[in-house]
Symmetry: C2
Subunit: 222 residues, 2 copies
DNA sequence: TGGAATCAAATTATCTATAATCTTTGGAGA
DNA sequence: TCTCCAAAGATTATAGATAATTTGATTCCA
């Protein structure tokens, strides 16, 4: 038998904080004070420090030596940067995954897309979207690449939640279906180019609101 | 004025260990025991643990919960994986850096190449090579991308040192010069494709030695 | 006799508690 | 109003305690 939790305390704390940062509960720029976090989780500050290092590596927090840790901010430029990196790396992953894709895997990916179309809130849509990409790319058998993509997905999810906090509408994801159709016909190059454009389409653009004030809204298709 | 060392102890330790891992002084699979490392650096084991997390994030060490941390191993497959990721990301970086490249920057990159050609040992060649790539790519103004590329460079350097420990010959780096020539003529697409091929050319292949034994040698052009 | 299983001791990672160092903040004085 | 100094707060580091894993020896069974 194992103890109730496999993970170490540091990992548990980092996961919990990552969830909050991605969901927007912890806003960009918020100071993360180790004593407060330690108290909240009923732990000491040493595992908290390790959790901070982990968040830093994921790009969810930034640390200045002797001046503390803050939730990472994201500018319009950073949103584009993450989208470009995802496009490049996911295209690479798909190219290597393609030869290993079976009909069952493609069906599972399609299932994830349909689950996304049916979802009524941002959270479940994001989970389904992530499942789609992961199902399709994991067969590339490149662990380091997949880890990098996962971190970029987390960053993307932050933008998603920040943008779609209030207004949310369900749409059918035509890009996803087009990618699957291309793959089923063996058109790997075509599938890759759709995927790259699809992921790159995470573009911040101003959208007029009911109050007449132009508020920044992200259009996220990835 | 600042204290003699800007960095925190954890950062200092992680840098020192990273150097050893890259140079091959610490061989793949070696266990890193925190008490020993702490004793060597005259520190406690807590900053050592933070240094381990940092190395883990760079992909230079792997950690199993409650079972310690080891120097990351690299298989032939991982060498290829890192090369493919570098190719994808460096091409992306060059594409965004191209509009910002001045004649002075291109000259500096050429200078780095010539320094590499003149170098007599692997260490200085690697430094010059890294300088070439960094000089050319940094103007992309994408900090997250550059950080990722830096980590991949470190991983590549490990393979380089492992392969060229004994036999080392100087060659003129024609790819570097071809990239610069293309950029000077405004042929960004061409420069990107040369760079991608160039970086991908880090391929492990067996090479016959004088003793007649086929020993594994890496051919590293990147 | 060989081998598998078990248990205890030692080693090591992990966490807590405490001290030291740096940054920041608030106020006193010029 | 600006500068300087002191106190408070937070980060960083140390030392010691706890818990898990590994190791080695012993015992039991085939």
């Amino acid at each position: 038998m194992r103890s109730p939790s496999e993970d170490t305390i540091a990992v548990r704390i980092s996961k919990a904080l990552a969830e909050r940062i991605i969901a927007g509960t912890l806003e960009p720029g918020t100071r993360l004070r180790q004593d407060h976090v330690a108290a909240e989780f009923g732990a000491s500050h040493v595992p908290v420090r390790e959790a901070f290092r982990r968040l830093e590596a994921q790009g969810l927090a930034v640390s200045e030596p002797r001046r503390g840790v803050r939730v990472a901010a994201f500018s319009k430029a950073e949103v584009r940067e993450v989208a470009e990196m995802r496009a490049a790396l996911e295209e690479l992953a798909l190219r290597h995954a393609a030869p290993n894709l079976t009909a069952a895997i493609l069906d599972a990916a399609e299932e994830a897309t349909r689950a996304g179309d049916k979802s009524r809130d941002v959270g479940s849509w994001e989970a389904a979207n992530r499942a789609f990409h992961r199902t399709l790319l994991a067969p590339c058998n490149m662990p380091r690449l997949m880890a990098a993509i996962d971190d970029l997905h987390a960053a993307s999810a932050r933008f998603l939640f920040a943008a779609w906090r209030s207004d949310w509408e369900t749409r059918t994801d035509h890009d996803h279906l087009a990618i699957l159709a291309a793959l089923r016909q063996g058109e790997v190059d075509h599938a890759c180019s759709i995927l790259a454009r699809h992921v790159r389409a995470v573009t911040p653009r101003p959208v007029p609101t009911a109050s007449g004030v132009t508020r920044r809204l992200f259009v996220v298709d990835g």
